[in-house]
């Protein structure tokens, strides 16, 4: 589903030089599998997810998503790629001038789902993250963990074949974290490729899933699968 081939990302630094956020990362994430991505703060986890979403472009190397090399996608193709990927952002990225419902409905409206379906799907997604009774509220009125769950509902609402989550349980208590993990595992079980970036080692320890570790932008460990398997 997702393949990275010797991918590097160097952020230019104002005043010259650059910051190597990723160095020569190669990996393969098959459909129907849940993978953890871990590493110290600044290791390059978010950068990796952003490259897959084409929010950032790699400095070197090739990324293939769903059989499509990203470097062949023009700016017109980016929206279609992003509709295939549900992403939970580290900083939520919610709209604070609309209701919870409208936030979650956004991907469906953008993708042109029939209006009759939208209500059903949004409520199903809100139900899965336990926010069904908050649909009319503004995200500002909700706690950090609740806001995080709006982001999760928005990421899964159109049932994308690919799910990327950047610290999805960062603000959640253990019980809620477990529930969200159940949700992600359900998606993996129906064939979705799921990648979860997290610091939460206890969460990782609780599940027997593949684990990728980054350090200083390098992939240093791959539990569960051959690091060069592609």
């Amino acid at each position: 589903m997702i393949q990275l081939d010797r991918v590097s990302k160097r952020y230019p630094i104002p005043g010259g030089g650059g910051k190597d956020a990723l160095r020569q990362v190669s990996l393969h994430l098959p459909a129907g599998e849940l993978t953890f991505l871990t590493g110290h703060s600044g290791a390059g986890k978010s950068t990796l997810l952003k490259l897959i979403m084409m929010i950032e472009r790699p400095t070197a190397g090739e990324i293939i998503v769903d059989g499509l090399p990203l470097n062949r996608i023009g700016s017109g193709g980016i929206p279609l790629l992003r509709r295939k990927i549900g992403m939970v952002h580290q900083n939520h990225q919610l709209l604070f001038d609309r209701s919870v419902y409208d936030n979650v409905a956004l991907p469906l409206i953008i993708a042109g789902f029939p209006r009759a379906d939208i209500g059903k799907r949004v409520r199903a997604a809100l139900d899965k993250v336990g926010l069904l009774d908050k649909e009319k509220l503004n995200p500002v009125m909700l706690s950090g963990g609740e806001q995080q769950r709006i982001g999760i509902a928005r990421a899964v609402v159109n049932k994308p074949p690919l799910l990327l989550a950047d610290e999805p349980t960062g603000n959640l208590d253990p019980a809620l974290s477990a529930e969200i993990m159940d949700l992600f595992q359900d998606f993996a079980r129906v064939g979705v490729a799921v990648l979860i970036a997290t610091h939460d080692l206890s969460l990782i320890a609780r599940y027997q899933h593949r684990l990728l570790s980054l350090r200083e932008g390098r992939l240093i460990a791959d539990r569960g699968e051959d690091i060069h398997g592609a």
Binding site: A31, I55, G76, I110, F113, D127, K159, P161, L183, V190
Partner: protein
């Protein structure tokens, strides 16, 4: 709280859900849905743009008023010019030749000449002004009665006014030349020069208004560009979120284009209102003026076609401004900058 309710029901071994099922019917209905979604987004964008404008009434009113004034100025002047043209249209028909005869021509000879000219095919009618009539008229109009009394004899020549059928400048000049060849004629004066001058002035004024219209239309576009630029600036985060969840440029652009269109349209409507109010205001003095000149003339308004065309044209200008702003500034708002 529905925390533990409804886990996602897995469809085992099924391919990823969003893939549309094959089959012509499904494809057709997919197209139908897409069109429907597109139509609904247009409607929502239009309504949302209006709602946002209403949410900031003062700022919106300012922008609309600036646009309205910029449009009302050339529109109002154009209406006035049209009035001037219409009012002076009939004046061509009054163009005539004043044929001054030599002073020793007596009135019977004057009558004979006038009769001969009046019989010409290219002359509509003639009017005889004898030396005595001329003197009486002059005395009355000038107030120089005593001076004239002091003169030993009537200094004014006999006059025949010739009204030609064809009042084009060429025909007038030919007639002037032919009449001037007569032995009895002292001078043939063409009273058309000032009409020509007036028309040249109206023409010039028309062109100046044209240039003014162009400049102010540009000003309207620039006002909208700036307004939309600010709107984009204030909605950066929203644009980023929409792009992140797969919004196309068209989707992001649409509400701003509608905003520009609404600004233009509203400005145009207010401009029509301003022009009509101004016309009402100057209407009664004009009526008094035309009454003084024994004219039936009354002010021409904008006409309802122009009252419709101006707002639409303004809407188009607004759309243009929004388009410029969006194509220039929207690419500056990209998810990677956050």
């Amino acid at each position: 709280m529905a925390r533990n309710a409804t886990p996602l029901k897995p469809r085992r071994q099924a391919p990823p859900p969003p893939k549309p099922r094959a089959g012509a019917r499904a494809a057709r209905s997919a197209w139908h849905h897409r069109f429907e979604a597109w139509r609904l987004h247009h409607r929502d964008s239009a309504v949302d743009a209006l709602r946002r404008m209403r949410a900031t009434p003062t700022a919106t009113a300012m922008t609309v008023l600036v646009i309205a004034i910029a449009l009302a100025l050339p529109a109002g002047i154009t209406v006035l010019l049209e009035n001037a043209r219409a009012a002076t249209q009939g004046w061509d028909g009054n163009a005539h030749l004043s044929v001054f005869l030599k002073r020793d021509i007596d009135s019977s000879r004057q009558q004979a000449l006038a009769g001969a000219w009046g019989a010409r095919a290219d002359v509509e009618r003639v009017q005889v002004v004898t030396r005595e009539q001329a003197l009486a008229e002059f005395r009355e109009l000038s107030g120089f009665g005593e001076v004239l009394d002091a003169l030993p004899d009537n200094p004014l020549p006999p006059l025949v006014m010739v009204f030609p059928r064809d009042t084009t400048p060429g025909a007038l000049e030919t007639l002037q030349k032919q009449l001037g060849e007569a032995r009895e004629v002292d001078l043939v004066q063409l009273d058309v020069q000032w009409v020509k001058r007036l028309h040249a002035m109206l023409e010039l004024a028309g062109r100046i208004v044209g240039a003014l219209t162009l400049a102010l239309a540009l000003a309207v576009v620039l006002v909208v560009v700036n307004t939309i630029r600010l709107a984009i600036e204030s909605r950066r985060e929203e644009i980023v979120v929409v792009k992140i969840v797969g919004g196309t440029d068209g989707f992001v652009r649409r509400p701003f284009l509608y905003t520009g269109f609404w600004y233009g349209l509203a400005g145009g409507l207010v401009a029509v209102l301003l022009v009509q109010i101004a016309l009402l205001w100057i209407g009664s003095p004009v009526d008094q003026l035309t009454a003084l000149y024994e004219s039936e003339y009354s002010l021409i308004g904008m006409g309802w076609i122009n009252a419709v065309v101006l707002p639409l044209f303004a809407g188009l200008l607004g759309l243009m401004g929004a388009w410029l702003a969006v194509s220039r500034h929207l690419q500056d708002v990209d998810p990677h900058l956050l």
